[in-house]
Each structure stands twice: as C-alpha cells, then as structure tokens.
Symmetry: C2
Subunit: 119 residues, 2 copies
DNA sequence: CTACTTGCAAACACTTTGCACATCC
DNA sequence: GGATGTGCAAAGTGTTTGCAAGTAG
C-alpha cells in the first residue's frame, strides 16, 4: 500500500525505506533518528544513519511523518497514520512545567476544544 | 534586588550577569542565546557567547529563567518573573500543527483548566 | 544509459568543556 | 591565596551535504 505513493512520484520503494516505515508503524513511541537507526540496524546492518535522516526527510515531504521536538535537543518522528494511534492527534506541551498531553485522533471527546490551528 | 540572590549563594553579581538579566527583563520575546549575545554585545563587546551560555545555565539553576525550544533547533530563554509578562504562564504547543497558545499568568480566566502539571 | 539511492566522510550549527588568566574578598 | 568568573579555542552532539559507487527501469 505504500509502494504506490513512492512510484507515483518516480521514487523507489527500497528496502531501507520499507524498513524505516516498518519501525515507525509498529510503535506508538516518538522515536529519534538514532532510535530508528538502531531498530533498523538489527535486521539491516547495511543501512546507515544518513539514509535514516534522508528517508525521514522524504517521508515528511510526502506527508506520512511528523517531526517535532520534546526539548532534549533531538528531533522526534512519528507516523501520521498509525494503526496503533489512529488519525490526527495533538501534542499539547507546557514548555514551562513539561506536562505533555496527547489527545485527539477520533477516539472520542476531549476536554479541550481543538481550535482552528492558525499557523 | 537581584544582587542578593547571587550573594546568598556565594556568587558574584558581575557586569555580564547584570547585562544578561537586563536584556531578558526588557523584552517579552523568547530569545535564543545568540539573540542575547548580540543584544549584550552592543554595550559590552567584551562579553563572549560562552559567558552567555554559562550565565543562562546559572539563571536556570537559580530558578529565574526558563529554557525551552520552539522546534527550530535552538534553545530559547525567558525570565520567569517579567514585569511585562507577569507570573507563571504556560506555553501550549501542538507539535503537529504548530499552534502555540500562551496562557495563564494570573491575568484572568483561561478557556482551559490548568490541571495538576504532573512531571 | 539515465535518474534515483546509498554509505562514508566531511561539513555544519548550536552548545559545552578545558584551560589559563583575571577578579573579588 | 582560594574560590569564583571569564574569554578563547577545542571538543561534543545531532544533523546535513559532497561525492563516488550502486541499482532499478
């Protein structure tokens, strides 16, 4: 189901790309590039960190992945459509006290209205 | 009023420290270390970037300054007690759609309850 | 054969650390 | 003179880029 998204853009659905999507789709964690690299490295030792970064960049451009930060200096990545955590959900973070609230994603009502999300 | 906080810890209230606090207390912006460095540099060309970083670290330990990130790869700093923006206020950020809501700080009711802020 | 992919190493941007000198009390 | 503070340069960390080699269609 993912191959077509690549082919449609003249891109190839290579082993590294499939492996990285696999890792992202089988966790609800917010992974860093290195997390993903290490996870993939078990099965495919040939895949380098550079490829992980480039693939993530590509997946973001394709609208499949979000990138964000939790304040520890490294980027985090998450599949937008994830069977384990479906739909669009928000991450509310109080940068002062570090409280993080994951909510949304069509699993029912939230205590907060979702607003219009101005850029 | 700040000197005492330093002396009480056996620390000195030096010119760089005063200058950096000055910059922070005269803006409501969320400044990066380099922003602060450049602002201070006009009046005190001798103050280096290293000192800015070390002073900010110290101010955080002292509980005077917050550090956080807006997702552009650099840290941002803000005075906790700021005459222009008083009291404790939260920064709610949806990391997905980038909406940022500043609220709180004792200027009246918010649309959201503030919760208990678990770590 | 042409465009797309990749790994390695080098380059980058921001931040931290090592060290010698300066300063305060 | 001992602890604190500083600037410079070097090291560190996470990320991106240059480049030559590999591969699909």
């Amino acid at each position: 189901m993912n191959e077509g998204r690549f082919r449609g853009r003249g891109l190839r659905f290579t082993e590294p790309r499939r492996a990285i999507l696999d890792v992202l789709s089988t966790t609800t964690d917010h992974l860093s590039a290195e997390d993903i690299y290490l996870a993939v490295h078990g099965d495919y030792p040939g895949i380098g960190l550079t490829t992980v970064y480039r693939t993530l960049e590509l997946l973001i451009e394709m609208g499949l992945v979000y990138r964000f930060q939790f304040g520890d200096g490294r980027n985090r990545y998450e599949l937008i459509q994830n069977r384990l955590k479906p739909g669009h959900h928000h991450h509310l973070v109080c940068i002062n006290c570090k409280k993080i609230i994951d909510y949304g994603g069509g699993r029912g009502r939230n205590r907060f209205s979702s607003g219009s999300g101005r850029k």
